[in-house]
Point group: C2
Chain length 225, copies 2
């Protein structure tokens, strides 16, 4: 008999629901968050909605506009660039820290994560590719054992998700990205922490260069990993 799982609070559930709507683009930058409307739609009272919005505000997913209330925060080039600069610093650190912590079990899981991404890419499933991308990197953060890094990057990936939803599309997913993931991970498996970290850094910087923000009329671009 297992422990009974605690029921998650309505605040947490509303938060997740709103965050998901924001990150998938269901709610666009500039959209107002009307508490009454959200409460009615989710079938809860306004209070947990109010609390959830406060949390989203603290994390900058939404922003307060004078005389306009709370709206979904804008996505701009700066945000994207800022995240990639930070990734360029933190992802190599994650790789460096994770490498000596690999075990047979986690090696298998890492290879599975890379393979899953490759499959999703070949299937042309953009949402699955993004999920696989996040899963692979999150796996590395967790393996690093550095919870500040993991928490930071988890939050950053949420911002990335919405950047991609608003700014980018996934028409041109490339095998190169997943091959690079594979190479980085195999360098880790061989114990070459420095090489792997350098390769990850190059991979992120390269991705930052390659990603194009969508022009107003909807250009297309390769994504990153």
């Amino acid at each position: 008999m297992e422990h009974l799982q605690p029921v998650r609070s309505l605040v947490d559930r509303v938060y997740d629901s709103l965050l998901d709507a924001i990150c998938t683009g269901e709610m666009k930058p500039g959209d107002r968050l009307a508490q009454d409307e959200i409460a009615a739609r989710l079938g809860v009272s306004r209070q947990p909605v109010n609390s959830a919005i406060a949390m989203l505000k603290a994390q900058r997913f939404v922003t307060e506009r004078p005389r306009r209330g709370v709206e979904v925060a804008p996505v701009d080039r700066d945000l994207f660039q800022s995240i990639y600069q930070v990734r360029g610093a933190l992802e190599p650190l994650a790789v460096q820290l994770a490498t000596p912590r690999l075990t047979p079990g986690t090696i298998a899981r890492g290879r599975d994560a890379v393979a899953a991404g490759m499959e999703a890419m070949q299937a042309g499933d953009a949402a699955a590719v993004l999920r696989a991308d996040i899963a692979f990197h999150t796996f590395l953060y967790d393996l690093s054992g550095n919870r500040i890094l993991a928490d930071t990057m988890r939050l950053n990936w949420q911002h990335l998700r919405r950047s991609m939803g608003e700014v980018l599309r996934f028409p041109g997913m490339t095998a190169q990205v997943w091959k690079e993931h594979g190479r980085i991970f195999e360098a880790m498996v061989r114990g070459e922490a420095g090489e792997a970290a350098q390769a990850m850094r190059a991979h992120i910087l390269d991705a930052a260069q390659r990603v194009q923000l969508r022009p107003a009329d909807g250009g297309q671009a390769d994504t990153d990993g």
Copy 2:
């Protein structure tokens, strides 16, 4: 006639009040956060207290314990080490990004920040030293123009504050720390971004090595910058 400043919500004010109590050590790790008591003490109703606690929980300043409610999160060696590892990656990035953005005005402000820290150190005022330390680094983050980095490190400094409050004392503040700050900043002023970033990285790694966690009976240690 200026814009009237918006009144800050009670949720925000309660959040700040609690965060300060946690970071200064007024509330210790393991202390329970009783909503009724906090509400009574701050003279507000429970609802904004409940919201503020949810935000603190999301940022891991407090943690939920089964059958015990919400308590101040523990401070341990891992947390400290995690923060320093992340600092080792992000502070050099901040320096790198900030260096080409220096202006005569910000140069003067940076020098003032270093001088203020030196003064506080010489006055033996531990709290002022910590404030000056935070101010100097925060100045660099803001100057970097990368808001993800700035937000991340602001949050990390709050965790550091409470780590220091719980784990460390400030008996041995050294001139060396502030001299290094000065050297790093002057390298930036000369436009040597790479040198300055390397020096900052070395400074952080050195600090991480030098900082000792307080033994149970209250040892003493030098702090960092």
